[in-house]
């Protein structure tokens, strides 16, 4: 199967197979006017199978979300048809507006304007805790 290469835009590569749609939704790519391609179960030497998303426009991506959902992802920045930057994403230290605190005793449960912010407290177990009440994200 062939998908045209892009001239100016982003290629989100090395997405774990099956997570492409989740990332598509989380990044709100459905709202874009430009061409967006999701490639599922592409063959990968490193991963066996992987998903890829190609976005035919230069947009700001929240790499924090990508790092949380799938830390092995790479983001390639393409300008004039040439790869100009390759970004790898790690588990982010802080997640803002991605997770919601479920603790009914947390101040975020009553003060709606407060941003839900989580900090990485255990990288091995990928545990994030609410900065207000320290409840772990589930």
């Amino acid at each position: 199967m062939r998908i045209d290469s892009i001239r100016n835009g982003l290629v989100i590569d090395h997405i774990s197979a099956g997570k492409g749609m989740e990332i598509y939704d989380l990044l709100g790519l459905g709202d874009l006017d430009c061409t967006v391609a999701i490639i599922k179960n592409s063959n990968s030497r490193k991963m066996g199978k992987k998903d890829i998303i190609k976005i035919d426009a230069e947009i700001d991506l929240d790499l924090n979300i990508l790092g949380y959902v799938d830390p092995g992802i790479t983001v390639n920045v393409i300008k004039d048809g040439v790869l100009v930057e390759k970004k790898t994403v790690d588990l982010p230290e802080t997640l803002t507006g991605v997770l919601k605190c479920k603790n009914p005793r947390c101040i975020t449960s009553t003060e709606q304007e407060l941003k839900h912010v989580f900090k990485l407290t255990d990288p091995e177990k990928r545990t994030y805790r609410c900065i207000y009440c320290e409840t772990a994200a589930k």
């Binding site: 005793r105 101040i107 975020t108 449960s109 003060e111 304007e113 207000y132």
Partner: protein
């Protein structure tokens, strides 16, 4: 400008410094009687309290300062829907330092981010209560002469007991601490507290048996099962009398045991124990005022 939201905001060296200052205040109260002349403490209590609020107020008066504030949410603009941030910004215009108690966890942290003056967390829901922890550390230090090499038993509601969570967090930074957690199954410490102990290599055990645990303890920290933390009255009624400390149960305890309690108590320590020399919960109350005086001086940067 600094605030105190979590006991871990203070380094062990700073805690030592506060304990030393409190000891100096106890020894020389007159020296400190005018230190905060002209300064105002705002006590913003969105939840009822006797000891903590009065202790903060007494602390400020004994430093020569004055106090303003409210003692229930209904008498503040919160009743009209004002946010914690707006309340903190407003009070920053009137006072030099804030002591805030709030039923919602994280509220004092939100206030500290918005305020232009130091904020002291005077208890946020079942989360943190750092000035109680400072009180507890001063009490342990005065009773035992040290903060390391101790076996500390925590008994009662270890799930919602914020004083327990804060004190365990603080003790984890001292050497050779052993912690015994005594609670009903339903009221065990939350996972993040266990994670803190594990991370710091603290030896701890969990049990439901108070009497069997007593002989090894240097300190027994009793807590109340708090009605206000339960969404379900039936659960509260079922668990409230899980542990009641009586003279008979103390039979196997050591002579140099120190029995602490953040108070208020309901019935978890029999009043007959009040006269036992091992009971130090009312001394704890007194020390609470002195350590808060030391803290106010530190956060207001008064020498």
């Amino acid at each position: 400008m600094r605030s105190l939201i979590d006991i871990l905001d203070l380094s062990p060296a700073e805690i030592d410094e506060l304990i030393a200052k409190a000891n100096d205040i106890i020894a020389n109260p007159v020296k400190y009687a005018e230190k905060c002349r002209g300064k105002k403490l705002a006590t913003l209590f969105f939840e009822p309290s006797t000891r903590t609020r009065l202790s903060f107020e007494a602390a400020m008066y004994e430093l020569g300062g004055s106090v303003l504030g409210f003692s229930e949410a209904q008498s503040s603009s919160t009743a009209k829907g004002e946010s914690v941030s707006d309340t903190a910004k407003t009070v920053s215009c009137y006072a030099d330092i804030i002591a805030m108690r709030h039923p919602k966890e994280g509220a004092p942290f939100v206030a500290a981010q918005a305020a232009s003056i130091p904020v002291i967390n005077a208890g946020d829901g079942g989360h943190n209560h750092p000035t109680q922890t400072l009180t507890d550390l001063l009490t342990i230090s005065r009773e035992k002469g040290r903060l390391d090499g101790l076996t500390v038993g925590f008994c009662g509601d270890l799930k919602f007991g914020r004083t327990v969570h804060s004190l365990i967090g603080a003790l984890c930074r001292y050497q050779n601490i052993k912690i015994v957690l005594i609670s009903p199954e339903e009221l065990k410490v939350p996972s993040y507290v266990k994670q803190t102990m594990k991370k710091n290599g603290i030896e701890y055990s969990q049990t439901t048996d108070l009497e069997a645990s007593l002989p090894e303890l240097d300190i027994l920290y009793m807590t109340r099962v708090q009605r206000e933390r339960f969404f379900n009255e039936e659960d509260y009624l079922r668990l409230k009398d899980s542990y009641i400390l009586t003279p008979a149960k103390l039979k196997n305890a050591r002579d140099d045991l120190s029995i602490m309690h953040p108070l208020p108590r309901v019935n978890e320590i029999s009043v007959e124990i009040d006269d036992d020399p091992r009971a130090c919960y009312f001394k704890q109350v007194l020390y609470g005022k002195f350590i808060r005086m030391a803290l106010i001086l530190k956060l207001l940067e008064v020498e």
